[in-house]
Symmetry: none
Subunit: 435 residues, 2 copies
């Protein structure tokens, strides 16, 4: 099996100032194409450490992916170390990357300095894979079999997460060209609302009966729900692929409406289907949002989907009670009698924003994200969510609401749970099993 190691370079990781998220994304991608990651390593901006560790990585594995240490400043020395490791006789210019550097800095009206131009200079032992999103290119260093006893290739990527991620597809393609990989197919089905332990109990018999070349993984995510990933090894065999598809059908049957999507679906990405939007055109039905404790996160989730302007009108973040009453029209008596964190307030907020923005659907959140605040009756982690649907022909408004109790001490986790539950409530109100 083709193996890989991942090496992250940067003092900022070793002193704990930033968490390395690149390695996780890279290993996910490598696993997807059937490359086994043997280890991940993080080292500092030290020339000798870089050279000796990368040399070991190349000895141990077929593919080495390096991130970080490619910035224009003096503390970034990865390129120099790679020149030395690969026995470069000098540097050459990458015209493609130079054009990108000029375009990026020009657009930002930044004068081109020598250190910017140097970003397009690479050791003469490497091939360049241009980085469209930043100034430092991806460098590919192939090594002769004689050097490590096996064909080995090293890819060096910038450490900026979106730049590294933006280069991954190109690198995967390149790896597929250079190595013979076992074909693996991964398929997700995506669930929301049932905890992992309960889910695993529900599908226990189904899982136990899977053949050993079909592998199930649980990928829980606060915002998305639980992704169930089925991986089919040896997928060159059509019979295996057929069996995989039939197992997925069985799984969907067992889980019923807990399942809301497949692939990379999220509760926000399925909104166009939920609202029955025609492709590329304005939708018949629109949605708006009123949020308190989620503070803009729910709106941000919805607008993270390109093209959402076809169905999304907008939102009000009513952080203060005055905004709840004056902008959303929540009756002050509701807040006086039941409090801002109440079923009544959540429902009034959703109705209020639906009217204000003339939307067909609206969802709302009002709760206590913490870490401070709350009471015995309404502890930190309590949130009321509501969803409404206005029937334009009858004028009727259908309302559903639900109390969420998130047991996390983290403000961030609570906010994410509240927002995803509000989207899930909308899914159930729209009454559709989408997948």
């Amino acid at each position: 099996m083709t193996t890989a190691s991942i090496c992250t370079i940067g003092d900022e990781i070793l002193i704990g100032q930033i968490v390395d998220t690149n390695s996780s994304k890279i290993s996910t991608a490598l696993n997807r194409i059937g490359v086994k990651v043997r280890y991940m390593l993080s080292i500092g901006d030290d020339r000798q450490e870089i050279i000796s560790n990368l040399d070991k990585c190349l000895k141990d594995t077929d593919i080495v992916i390096v991130t970080g240490g490619l910035g224009p400043t003096k503390d970034d020395i990865t390129k120099d170390a790679l020149a030395s490791l690969s026995g470069a006789s000098g540097y050459k210019e990458s015209p493609e990357q130079l054009a990108i550097v000029k375009r990026i800095l020009g657009a930002r009206h930044i004068d081109l300095l020598d250190i910017n131009l140097a970003q397009a200079q690479v050791p003469d032992t490497c091939e360049v894979i241009p980085n469209k999103l930043g100034t430092a290119p991806c460098m590919k260093f192939p090594f002769e079999v004689s050097r490590y006893g096996h064909p080995a290739v090293l890819y060096s990527l910038p450490g900026v997460p979106y730049e590294a991620e933006g280069l991954l597809d190109d690198i995967l393609e390149d790896i597929k060209k250079n190595f013979t990989l076992e074909k693996i197919i991964h398929k997700n089905i995506i669930t929301f609302g049932v905890p992992e332990s309960v889910l695993s109990k529900q599908i226990e018999d189904w899982e136990d009966a899977l053949p050993d070349w079909l592998h199930l993984a649980y990928l829980p995510n606060t915002t998305v729900g639980i992704r169930l990933r089925l991986s089919c090894y040896g997928a060159d065999d059509p019979a295996r692929v057929e069996r995989m598809d039939s197992e997925i059908e069985k799984l969907k049957e067992i889980l019923g409406p807990t399942v809301y999507g497949s692939g990379d679906d999220t509760l926000q990405s399925i909104l166009p289907r939920l609202l029955k939007c025609p492709p590329e055109a304005t939708c018949q039905e629109t949605i708006s949002v009123a949020e308190s404790c989620t503070g803009g996160h729910l709106s941000e989730l919805i607008t993270s989907v390109p093209g959402c302007s076809r169905y999304y009108n907008g939102s009000v973040t009513s952080y203060s009670n005055e905004v709840k009453t004056k902008v959303l029209g929540v009756d002050p008596a509701i807040i006086a009698n039941f409090g801002a964190v109440s079923q009544q307030c959540a429902e009034a907020m959703a109705k209020g924003v639906a009217c204000l923005m003339d939307s067909d659907y609206a969802i709302s959140t009002t709760g206590i994200a913490g870490p401070d605040g709350g009471s015995a009756e309404k502890p930190v982690g309590t949130c009321w969510i509501a969803a409404v649907h206005r029937n334009r022909s009858t004028g009727e408004i259908e309302v559903v609401s639900k109390k969420i109790l998130s047991m996390s001490a983290s403000r961030d986790v609570n906010i994410k749970r509240f927002a995803s539950n509000a989207l899930d409530l909308l899914r159930h109100l729209a009454g559709q099993q989408l997948f």
Copy 2:
């Protein structure tokens, strides 16, 4: 200098299923007490890999911290590997940990199984540091100088993040008892608005004149700006600490108002200082937000700061033009004549939300986040941002606005750039250099 390596064990990390956050927390703690982390390593649940890699870690560094692979199930084999590596002749029971195991399972009404009891069994070569938060104890393995040529000690912790974190203080105390440590101090100053390459040019002379025990690092972040981290080695020497502080003063002088904070400051966390909020009390001045293309992200940033209800009223996400005109009161003629992405619209949105929510300050964004849309005149990445201040005694409204051109192809990055620039515009409007 005392050195350490950190080794995380678990297949779930190598397939990218979870991001390793333990290593970052451990390295932060080690750096704080003056232990230099030389590298971090993640390996799979494979006995031979564990033994050979930990053997190398012990050769390379004085202290090895291991997390993971201590669960009760069959795939967790770290303890067995450590028994072998340390030459244990057998297992012994830890009475303290056994009492904890019984208490934890009893509280959860779980029957004690053999695999639970086995959690209190440890190799006879180790000392136990009890883990009060979970069933697997911390094991400390000291090694003779003769084995690795230097005194070496290995600590094995459970992988569950809060359990590992809960044990850290005990381990740090133990390390301080066993090693003579150099003191290191890290200090950040935080900048926004000047690109890394320009910044490094501005401070080049200053940086070149730093003594070799003072080390500078650049930590760029789309939302925060660029953190400049100065690390002082040998900080037991008061003269060095004094020099560090005077170098920081010099740096601030060179950079001027580009600097906005220190430590863990962010553009949103400094808002209470910017608005001159008294601690723990309601602020005299409040802020609200009107956003279009940032879709809720700007509001989310502001509400990510605990206690923001003292100065934050709320926001309107005016995704559709109807919401801009009907809710925020933007003159439809502005949109007809200049478009929604225009200076005029951004300013009208900020004024509109300040009036709607009766706030002293307001900021707004209207642009094209992409990946699709835009035109030759207003390409993807274009955003107009505005900030207003209402003078309540004179009734005057002060307005500033700015065009941002983000060259990223990533919708997410564009949104982050627009939002952080809007917060920075507010900082400049409030006219204060805060640090």
